[in-house]
Symmetry: C2
Subunit: 195 residues, 2 copies
DNA sequence: CGTCTATTTGAATGTACTCAAAAGCGGTGG
DNA sequence: CCACCGCTTTTGAGTACATTCAAATAGACG
């Protein structure tokens, strides 16, 4: 299978597409390959693409004044990655996005995306659904962040994302959970001795 | 001005609508008035409407096993309120939404919304944009939650939402920030003595 | 094998919570 | 209009959660 077909397959999980729709979508995206540790998005630089991940793993993070990193999102195959605010308003990005392993994406820029919204209403519906689902997921994360302590959030994380847990360095998980790597290590220790 | 026109005005801030579009939209919504403390959404009951707030204030909150409330969102004039997950998948709601003052909303149910998406593509675009913006806002809140301590989050809150700060009881602000009302009181005290 | 980075461990400190009680405030009824 | 009731906010003390700093150990990679 051509990898672009994976994108079409992904979209048709949510909306129906005609043959012409599919062709228009296919021709609007361009492939890009990232090496491990390569940056897809950079703080301070406009994020000009919305990215669909064919294969690989990305991590989006914010770097504060003290130089500390705060992980906003991990993303794997079939997920999307951009700085939506930067992309939407064409402003400088607030985050970095880095490949944690060799990663292949398909990219679309804003003019082409707007054109596609116009020409393929089903594609706009797809993005409406996508953003809706993303918003629902974000809400759950906020709820977890405000009501659970570090250990509870960690247990929740490994339950929700067992796959991530395997291959993502612990310090990034800590920065996603909003705790220090040292504290995460302590949590793991106390979980290990408890059993 | 008819209050339903306020909704149209709101939508046309983001997308253009024809006369027919406007009529179709207007006829799809029905008004509802809430008394102070009345519930718009109830945990365990399907959320069958998406709600546009004409005038008033709502608070969305989750109640955990211990009976503690965790505020997910405050919403005022021109905002939208629903349990999106419950609405979208037609499942039991996870949250409550309560009027903090007399509040007037316009409601649309899912069949009518889907119909409207189909008949008025601009309306679907509007919701795509709305969800996109909501997602961007949520991202910022997550970032604040994982990188700031209680005092910093409080200062951020009163900076972002000075109006809310005036009329919302402190204990609800605490539950929004993810801290206890007791601790928020201490934060306020130490801010007051600092100046 | 050596180097660089990630993880663990320990101790001291700061941040935030719980419990209990007092003070403040708003609404209601007499 | 005042007195009372119920709820919110404040205060204080003790405890738990989480961070910082420093150093040791373990892993990854050339």
């Amino acid at each position: 299978m051509e990898s672009i077909d994976q994108l079409i397959k992904h979209i048709t999980k949510y909306v129906e597409l005609s043959k012409e729709d599919k062709e228009k979508i296919k021709s609007s995206f361009t492939p890009r390959t990232l090496r491990k540790r390569e940056l897809l998005i950079q703080q301070g630089v406009a994020c000009v693409h919305e990215n669909y991940i064919v294969q690989g793993t990305l991590r989006a993070f914010y770097v504060d004044d003290k130089g500390d990193e705060h992980t906003l999102q991990f993303a794997v195959d079939d997920w999307w990655m951009s700085d939506l605010e930067s992309f939407f308003y064409q402003t400088a990005a607030n985050i970095y996005a880095e490949a944690l392993e060799p990663t292949q994406v398909f990219q679309i820029n804003k003019p082409d995306l707007d054109k596609l919204y116009h020409e393929v209403p089903m594609f706009e519906r797809f993005f409406r659904i996508l953003h809706q689902r993303a918003y629902i997921a974000q809400n759950k994360r906020i709820l977890n962040a405000i009501r659970m302590n570090g250990m509870e959030r960690y247990l929740q994380f490994i339950e929700n994302y067992p796959a991530f847990h395997q291959k993502i360095p612990q310090k990034y998980i800590a920065s996603y959970l909003g705790i220090t790597p040292v504290f995460l290590s302590q949590i793991r220790k106390s979980l290990a001795t408890k059993n």
